[in-house]
């Protein structure tokens, strides 16, 4: 897949937008979000004091640009280490969408 955007929202939802797959699901139903967040966080510049639980959103623009959106955000560019983690999440999001009933109730997270 190319030209996709994934948002991992800090409040607990994960969303993907692309030509082939667009879905938003609760993050706690996805097992591959946590390892991806950890993988991205591991790329944080050493001088950055952001904590792993502190993010408004993590925006993933394809495989080349990841932006950790928080008070003290950071970017990860062109890091091939993240590709398998991103691919695993995309596969899980595809399954989540495939398993949604046609008129599934919307996720409502308060």
């Amino acid at each position: 897949m190319e030209n996709f955007t994934i948002h991992i929202f800090g409040y607990g939802e994960t969303q993907i937008n692309s030509k082939d797959l667009s879905v938003k699901v609760a993050t706690d139903t996805l097992s591959n979000v946590t390892p991806l967040i950890a993988g991205i966080f591991a790329k944080k510049p050493t001088e950055n004091t952001t904590k792993i639980t502190e993010f408004h959103a993590i925006n993933i623009f394809g495989y080349k640009d990841v932006r950790w959106m928080s008070k003290e955000g950071f970017n990860v560019k062109d890091d091939s280490d993240l590709k398998p983690l991103i691919d695993a999440l995309i596969a899980e999001l595809q399954i989540a969408k495939d398993n949604l009933p046609i008129d599934a109730p919307k996720v409502e997270i308060q």
Partner: protein, 461 residues
């Protein structure tokens, strides 16, 4: 050795101390071409009588100046320019600062080491220039090359116009490598795409694309100026999907035009990457959806088709037809979603809207948060006008304002108050109610209306 020197206003030529010729210096002219023959000669003639009236003709190697220093071609020209009625002869006869190239069609100056070797090419002046393309022209300057047919270099230093009909106005180290390409001036610019134009600036690049007819783009690419701007190669072949890319100016802006017609107005380090996408200005902005737009600001992303970020900082629009007006760290990530502005707001479901405020979320279909702080509209078609920490979580629910209200999944419930949790559907909840102008009669009132008789409040059944 033969000594040539100026004595009392005349050219005096002597050999071994014996004067062999004295002539008024202003009447003397030289044949410059003879200085550059395989066997160089100094040829002096009477300028008023034409170059057939040779009065002196000796090998250059046998001649010296007044100090006894042997002449070279250049030092003798300097001597002649300073002292004689200096003139030159051209290949066509008569006096002219120009001569024919060895190809007998190119025209080049007698002075300077220029080479108009192209058929009917022209070099107007300067030095070290080579005009080798057919009908190519170099007006002046140094170390210029016009090797494309019908190419032109106006001037400057070390510019190269290397393909048909290409033009460089001036500047330094500019290059045109494609048909009809143009660089107006500046430094280190390269126009490598057919019909591409770089007005000026510093190290701007337009790379050659594979175009629909393998030659010319549908509309040519243009960089107006600025520094380090780049329009990258386009490998996507389609008749009407190549070219038309424009970077007006700025610094370090990049257009990757898979389909063409991208625009960067200016700013710094901006990026456009899809058909018809635009970044007007600002810095580090990215517009990569079809017809997507970033107006300005910094570090904004608009990568949904026909999506827009007006400005602000670190805003992201990732779905089609969605919009963020401005603000900081806002996200609009679903079809037709809108965030007007504010701080860290999210609209991430179809037709959801957050007007402004801080850390508000409209996360279900057709939800709206007008503003306020940390409000969540998560029930389909629910609305929170403002306030703080409110949750509107049933279908078609609404909260006007206040703090910490919750519609509690009771559909069509409304809250106009503070700290209220709904416990019934289709109900409006308030803390207190103050009704002004209560009717004093039930006459004409529909069922459910309130009226009073004296101090007694009643409801129409």
């Amino acid at each position: 050795m033969i000594k040539l020197q100026i004595v009392d206003g005349s050219l005096q030529i002597s050999n071994g101390g014996s004067v062999i010729l004295v002539a008024p210096k202003n009447s003397c002219a030289i044949d410059v071409l003879a200085l550059y023959d395989a066997m160089p000669f100094i040829v002096i003639y009477n300028k008023y009588l034409g170059n057939s009236t040779v009065i002196f003709n000796q090998p250059l190697a046998n001649c010296e100046d007044s100090t006894g220093t042997p002449f070279s071609a250049n030092t003798f020209i300097d001597f002649a320019e300073a002292n004689l009625g200096f003139d030159t002869t051209g290949g066509g006869g008569g006096s002219s600062p120009f001569k024919y190239n060895a190809n007998a069609t190119g025209i080049e100056p007698c002075l300077g080491s220029n080479n108009a070797s192209g058929y009917l090419s022209t070099i107007g002046g300067g030095s070290g220039n080579t005009s080798s393309g057919i009908h190519s022209t170099i007006a002046g300057g140094d170390c210029l090359t016009a090797d494309g047919d019908h190419s032109t270099v106006g001037g400057g230093i070390s510019n190269t116009a290397s393909n048909c009909y290409s033009t460089i106005g001036g500047g330094k180290l500019n290059t045109t490598l494609a048909n009809n390409s143009t660089v107006g001036g500046g430094y280190g610019n390269g126009a490598f795409g057919c019909s591409s134009t770089i007005g000026g600036g510093f190290y701007n690049r337009i790379y050659c694309s594979i175009n629909y007819n393998s030659q010319y783009p549908f509309v040519a690419d243009t960089i107006g100026g600025g520094k380090f701007n780049t329009i990258c190669q386009n490998n996507y072949i389609a008749y009407n999907a190549t070219g038309g890319n424009t970077i007006s100016g700025g610094y370090g802006n990049i257009a990757i035009p898979k389909y063409g017609f991208t625009t960067i107005g200016g700013g710094k380090l901006n990026f456009v990457g899809s058909y018809g996408s635009t970044v007007s200005g600002g810095a580090n902005n990215e517009s990569s959806g079809f017809y997507s737009t970033v107006g300005g600001g910094k570090v904004n992303v608009s990568n949904g088709n026909k999506s827009t970020v007006g400005g602000g900082y670190r805003n992201v629009v990732s779905s089609a037809y969605s919009t963020i007006g401005g603000g900081f760290c806002n996200i609009a990530s679903s079809l037709y979603s809108i965030v007007g502005g504010g701080l860290r707001n999210i609209a991430n479901c179809v037709t959801s809207t957050v007007g402004g405020g801080r850390e508000n979320r409209a996360s279900n279909y057709a939800t709206t948060v007008g503003g306020g702080l940390r409000n969540i509209a998560s029930g389909t078609s629910s609305t929170i006008a403002g306030g703080s920490y409110n949750i509107s979580c049933g279908t078609n629910t609404a909260i006007l304002g206040g703090v910490s209200n919750n519609t509690n999944n009771f559909g069509c419930s409304m809250i106009v108050g503070n700290g209220i949790t709904a416990d019934r559907a289709c109900t409006t909840f308030v803390n207190n109610l103050s009704i002004k102008n209560i009717p004093t009669s039930s006459a004409g009132l529909p069922s459910g209306s309130i009226y009073r008789v004296g101090n007694l409040v009643s409801i129409v059944i």
